[in-house]
């Protein structure tokens, strides 16, 4: 009996030993909780960590005389892990700012913690517009893109080009549902009709039966309300089953990493909306080439977003003179964002980082002249057109 007590004692002491180290006061701690091994790993993942590190290095490694530290972890697309780790870092490691997400469900869970612990949270890569709507907090900044902008961009371009009837293949969680809603609004507003939709589990292995359902609906457009490897797999399956001969695929969210993976032969002619592209101007090309030198691929808009967000946060801390969350958030809201990511961007009252969004079309193999030359610009949408001119009315803290 005594020895079993001893075992229990050891277990408890081991717990004490594993409690994360108390933060040294002389540090500014930035956290990154993202999908490092799952469906969104290529879109942000390790590349995003690299981008954040690039920003920290470019900034100089210290701010206000304190060393900048980056903590990273993999949330594995589980809200439990994301929220728990965030809370733990906030309680035990003196976290000052969190970057992250990619997964809307996880990001919503993390934004609740951000609100409770008062820690600035840059939601990058997660699309759900509810992050600045029903789920908003005074500390959340939604960077890179959101489902509203995607709907206004891609759906609108396709409907105007004749794709009137739609059937959605939707990833069955917050992101997919919100993306479908946003696209549906645009389709209906432009005189189109949604014939139906099917919910697909995140990370589904086989899309064939869902695609058959889409086919039997007789719609003109196959709306793919998913992302990452889900998008890549559903496109491949659609080709295999000959669905693409009858229905036009609509890539509601696609990243350059996906286009690279699928190849131009499969994706040519696809419309997509992006917040950033490496080949837009000299500044974006310079960043793209720097990133390419380290990672051997061109950055996606999320990865560029991580760089920009980190930079902007550090600048705000410097300008505000401290890491006090309210002071930093006020500073962020005052500043215009002009960097390699965007020009003339600003943080709106509800947390959206309003900036120019670009509607692109994927080039044909013949049109592509050099590696990673994938997009041609169809339309540059000013921020207000993409995100709406008013802050989201459903955001609770704005109502006060």
């Amino acid at each position: 009996m005594q020895k079993s007590i001893l075992t229990a004692l050891c277990a408890v002491l081991a717990c004490a030993a594993t409690s994360p180290a108390r933060a040294a006061d002389g540090q500014v701690v930035i956290g990154d909780i993202d999908d490092l091994s799952g469906v969104y790993a290529d879109v942000a993942g390790q590349g995003a960590i690299e981008a954040a590190n690039m920003a920290i290095a470019d900034f100089g490694g210290t701010v206000l005389g304190r060393k900048i530290v980056l903590l990273t972890t993999d949330h594995q697309n589980k809200p439990d892990i994301g929220a728990s780790k965030f809370r733990e870092w906030a309680d035990q490691s003196g976290l000052n700012m969190l970057l992250g997400g990619s997964n809307t469900g996880v990001s919503i869970a993390m934004s609740k913690v951000a609100g409770a612990k008062k820690i600035p949270f840059f939601a990058i890569g997660a699309g759900g517009a509810s992050l600045t709507g029903a789920d908003c907090t005074p500390y959340t900044v939604h960077y890179a893109y959101d489902t509203t902008a995607l709907g206004n961009g891609t759906a609108s371009a396709i409907v105007k080009n004749g794709g009137k009837t739609w059937f959605f293949l939707t990833a069955d969680y917050a992101f997919g549902t919100q993306l479908q809603e946003s696209a549906t609004r645009v389709v209906n507003a432009n005189g189109g009709k949604v014939q139906g939709a099917v919910r697909v589990p995140l990370g589904a292995a086989d899309f064939s039966s869902f695609l058959l359902q889409a086919q039997s609906s007789g719609a003109q457009v196959l709306g793919l309300a998913n992302a990452g490897t889900d998008f890549v797999n559903s496109m491949k399956a659609a080709n295999e089953f000959g669905i693409t001969s009858a229905m036009k695929p609509a890539a509601l969210l696609a990243f350059i990493a996906d286009i690279h993976s699928l190849g131009l032969a499969t994706t040519q002619g696809l419309y997509l909306t992006t917040g950033w592209y490496w080949d837009l101007n000299e500044e974006t090309r310079a960043f793209g080439r720097r990133y390419f030198a380290k990672m051997n691929k061109m950055p996606t808009m999320d990865q560029a977003g991580y760089y920009s967000a980190t930079m902007q946060y550090l600048n705000a801390v410097k300008a505000a003179g401290s890491t006090d969350p309210d002071g930093v958030m006020a500073q962020l809201r005052k500043t215009k964002i002009n960097d390699a990511f965007t020009k003339g961007g600003y943080v709106r009252a509800d947390g959206v980082m309003v900036h120019t969004m670009y509607v692109m079309q994927v080039k044909t193999p013949a049109e592509s002249k050099y590696p990673w030359d994938y997009y041609k610009l169809i339309k540059a949408m000013p921020g207000e057109e993409a995100y709406g001119s008013q802050p989201d009315a459903t955001c609770p803290f704005l109502k006060r």
């Binding site: 490092l36 091994s37 799952g38 469906v39 790993a41 290529d42 594995q76 099917v198 919910r199 990370g203 292995a205 086989d206 064939s208 039966s209 869902f210 058959l212 359902q213 086919q215 039997s216 990452g228 490897t229 797999n233 491949k236 295999e240 089953f241 000959g242 993976s261």
Partner: protein, 295 residues
């Protein structure tokens, strides 16, 4: 377009076709499981992991060694079977004299290790495996386009199932196996090396799982988690068919694939659990399963 109960006929036929493809996989997987349970009395929780390892063998064979699909169809099950034999000899063998739950728990642990190693090495998202050149393209069936590869899967799985069934039920080797299931001591007294027989049977069952893995590589994304999602369904199938019955496993596997397909037409979300509903019902009314002997 003709409809049955308001659902267009092409939709039903399409899902039935896909259901048949899935059913072939279930049949192949449950066959291996039934063989192992029938002879060893072990509920092989690691079956899903071996299935996954088979798929990865094909993937690695292609990526690292440039070995094509047809090579891996033979080599994959062989390599994984060797792994299975190692597990049986080193671990499982020592647990036969104990409560059968220990065998189950051990295979559960082995599955954890196998999945953990693959996850640590390859990440959790799926890897792409190309359809072999000979089997590309689609068959225009009128109500849908069926990729040639999926048609091949149906043919291959059913072929293997048939051969396995024939070997077990119709050959003298099979007879020895079945005898050893009923009375190992007596068979041993006849001079037959029962431990070797048992080891080879485990290897054989594992090889069947790995074969299913190689077959599935071009269809679904090769990911470390692919085993755990399918193993529970396969268990349900085997229980429905009858835990030691070979024919039961094959028939139930096919039938359940088709039933799943039909459910996708009427109530798609429920297609994931229709197997479990049926299993619960079968367990309540016919605990031995549809084809099984009494427990």
């Amino acid at each position: 377009m003709t409809s049955v109960f308001g659902v267009p006929l092409p939709a039903i036929l399409g899902q039935l076709m896909l259901g048949l493809v899935n059913g072939s996989f279930y049949a192949l997987l449950s066959l291996g499981l039934a063989v192992i349970f029938g002879l060893l009395g072990v509920v092989n929780f690691a079956h899903g992991a071996f299935y996954m390892l088979g798929a990865f063998a094909a993937f690695v064979g292609w990526q690292k060694f440039g070995l094509g699909y047809w090579w891996m169809l033979l080599l994959g099950p062989l390599i994984v079977a060797l792994l299975g034999i190692a597990v049986e000899r080193l671990f499982l063998r020592h647990l036969y004299r104990l409560d059968p739950l220990y065998g189950l728990l051990l295979t559960f642990g082995v599955a954890m290790i196998a999945e953990g190693v693959m996850h640590a090495h390859f990440g959790s998202s799926g890897n792409y495996y190309p359809v072999p050149g000979l089997l590309r393209g689609g068959l225009h069936l009128g109500f849908m386009v069926l990729p040639v590869y999926r048609a091949w899967v149906i043919v291959a799985s059913l072929g293997v199932c048939l051969i396995t069934w024939a070997v077990i039920e119709r050959t003298s080797l099979g007879a020895t196996l079945r005898a050893a299931t009923e009375n190992a001591r007596l068979v041993q007294a006849f001079g037959i090396n029962v431990p070797v027989l048992v080891t080879c049977t485990y290897g054989g069952g594992v090889a069947l799982a790995a074969l299913a893995g190689v077959l599935s590589a071009p269809i679904i994304q090769v990911s470390p988690l692919m085993g755990s999602s399918v193993v529970i369904v396969v268990f349900a199938v085997v229980v429905i068919g009858g835990m030691g019955s070979i024919l039961g496993a094959i028939v139930s596997g096919l039938a359940l694939g088709v039933i799943e397909g039909l459910t996708k037409v009427v109530y798609p979300e429920a297609s994931n659990i229709v197997v479990f509903v049926i299993m619960a019902l079968v367990l309540v009314w016919r605990p031995a399963g549809l084809f099984g002997r009494d427990p």
